[in-house]
Subunit: 396 residues, 2 copies
């Protein structure tokens, strides 16, 4: 849904700049819809991949500006350069954010494109986390493209045009649509579990100790070609909402570590109060339980690790499944939950450090199942005339 | 996405009336999102079903007004009356539209609730149409609930609350989220195939010969309890967009029977020109091909049959499948398409009459596969203090 403060109100229509030192869709205020797609490359030559990225960059820039991906075909027997389904719709703050998976550098042990030596150490497959139930069909992939827009049709349209341009060179591996609904008063939005989500996200409160720029952008520590870029971790997290819905609010608050209505940390009065992890009740028990989600996720409790989350809810209807553990997860029904998307300078000191203990201990795990996953190196933004990934391919 | 002309601009927030002689969500200007769910009843007594409908009616009225479905629980060990995920979001023009499937009347040959004699003749399982590839898990069901709202989270929230109220009496059978994006200038929106969709829909042009009231509402021809109601046909139609995208625009226009950009019928100049089905080219071939979608769908060519469509696009990511026919449908990828929803006074002279020949002849069938289906009798609206379906159960 459009957020009033950011909505198209007059000409010019709402356009997010495509060109710039950083890619859009990372620190861009979150749009209300996303379509995230991951491609596998079929191209056999590095020059083909570079050519594809050049095509994609030009089409992305045009679409972000509200134009068709390509012109009408001169040949009446060839498809037009755009499928037409976004004609008449505003640009809707479309951003397209590209990422490179490990498979761009080395796949099945092969250095397909002569890029193996340029693979950053940090760009490896994520470790297997406790509880992971990853599906091959929703995991990994060579190139990620996340479209975000204030209109689901605009987001989907954008990825479809890139897919059309990739025939013979790349093929879609997995994709996920998502949405994010925010209150018109710009207070923190709620996730599908009914809790305010994002209170401690650095983008919401850059003054609260952690600056998003420092969390997200790769500096001198990274390879040259990746400076000014980032790493994105994507997880498709199914949530057993039907079982969550059967629990009482007090229990839910113990699981999360915050009050449901106000968002205040347990033992504190207001949403943005810092959680007091040392506070105890009269029996000496911590007010925020040891296994509460906010305790395990807090930078103070994971060696200062911090990430910038930019997730979306997803809702793919129903998909009945039975799982062995825990008992109350048997008979899962809603295929809905969180398309977790998080940016950081280094996944080893970001998501992996934060999530490794959480995967074992977080009380929330009783209701969540990670079924899809990806890690991608997000190259820097480009100026007009350049193309995404150019710094990588030029250096090769 | 919010449509400017209908958006929340000031207090009072955008609320669609729940109470009234007709149910909302039928002639209500289309909201931008939907979550359609179909329940199977487990209740063993008619009184239980009536009680469930009473609970649902009250909760639906509250949610449409922007209130929680129910109050906080007095018992700290019991769940609250609302899961909280729409707190802070505007009512978003939420409507909830209820329908009764054949299974409410007779199921597996049993008259479970003493309602068999009240089943309207028109309410039978739809016939098997040519090309149907219906999945049991997306077809049929006893009670349909369609939430429509200008926010996907609000629509999903509403159905979830009804599901919570149904524990032990009903269970979700299938569900589908969808979206509908409209240009801000209120011109006809485009579907995922890139064509203007809805040009000939009676709600868009009530003056164009067919009045929506006459198409939709059941009058004296129906059973007493259903007067002022309607019938809704739901079809989940997967579209092989990746193959459509490989075809040229001229071919696409022959399939649809309209120009892609303008929406004009072939041989005519403007979108709202009536199609000239008799027009031929210099060789005597019809300008609008015999198998063009608009020819087969036009009331003039199906004995005057007319329906009111109120569909949504859907996008559930990817789901790779291979089909035998036609060749170019092999390797379908996008699990996206049309959640077709159509209202009419009688499905036998509405959808069935229109679609039976289309299922055999429509050129569009090469790109579409019907994988889900439902037919439901939509009871009339209610006044405050009444409940949905009361006319049915009171009469029993």
């Amino acid at each position: 849904m459009l957020r009033p403060a950011r909505a198209d109100t007059a000409a010019p229509p709402s356009v997010e700049p495509f060109y710039g030192a950083r890619q859009g869709g990372i620190l861009t205020p979150s749009q209300s819809h996303t379509y995230l797609a991951v491609f596998d490359l079929n191209a056999t030559q590095a020059t083909q991949v570079a050519a594809l990225l050049k095509l994609w960059t030009a089409a992305a820039a045009r679409m972000a500006a509200g134009q068709p991906a390509g012109p009408p075909s001169a040949d009446p027997n060839a498809p037009d350069g755009d499928s037409g389904d976004a004609l008449g719709l505003p640009p809707s703050r479309l951003t397209l954010t590209f990422g490179f998976g490990p498979g761009l550098f080395v796949k099945d042990g092969k250095d397909r494109y002569g890029l193996a030596s340029r693979r950053p150490e940090a760009l490896a497959d994520l470790p297997r986390f406790n509880g992971d139930q990853l599906l091959e069909a929703r995991t990994g992939g060579d190139i990620s493209v996340q479209a975000c827009a204030d209109d689901p049709q605009v987001a989907f349209h954008a990825v479809r045009q890139l897919s059309r341009l990739s025939y013979g060179m790349a093929a879609l591996r997995w994709a996920q649509a998502g949405f994010s609904s925010s209150p018109p008063d710009e207070s923190t939005g709620r996730n599908l579990m009914g809790f305010k989500d994002g209170t401690a996200n650095p983008v919401a409160r850059p003054t609260a100790g952690v600056k998003p720029d420092e969390v997200v952008w790769i500096g001198g520590e990274g390879p040259d070609w990746l400076r000014g870029g980032s790493y994105v971790v994507v997880r498709r997290i199914r949530i057993s909402l039907e079982h969550w819905d059967r629990t009482d609010t007090e229990f839910q608050e113990q699981v999360i570590g915050r009050r449901k209505r106000s968002g205040a940390p347990l033992g504190s009065a207001a949403e943005f109060d810092p959680p007091d992890f040392a506070a105890t009740d009269k029996d000496g028990n911590p007010l925020i339980p040891d296994d509460a989600h906010v305790r395990l996720a807090n930078p103070a409790n994971v060696g200062g690790a911090s990430i910038l989350r930019r997730g979306y809810s997803y809702n793919d209807g129903l998909s009945f499944t039975a799982e062995r553990w825990p008992p109350w997860r048997q008979g899962m029904m809603y295929d809905a939950g969180l398309l977790f998307v998080a940016y950081q300078r280094d996944p080893r000191t970001g998501f992996i450090r934060i999530f490794e203990p959480m995967a074992k201990l977080d009380a929330l795990n009783q209701f969540s199942t990670h079924v899809g996953s990806g890690l991608f190196a997000v190259p820097p933004g480009v100026a007009q005339g350049e193309s995404i990934g150019q710094t990588l391919f030029d250096a090769a």
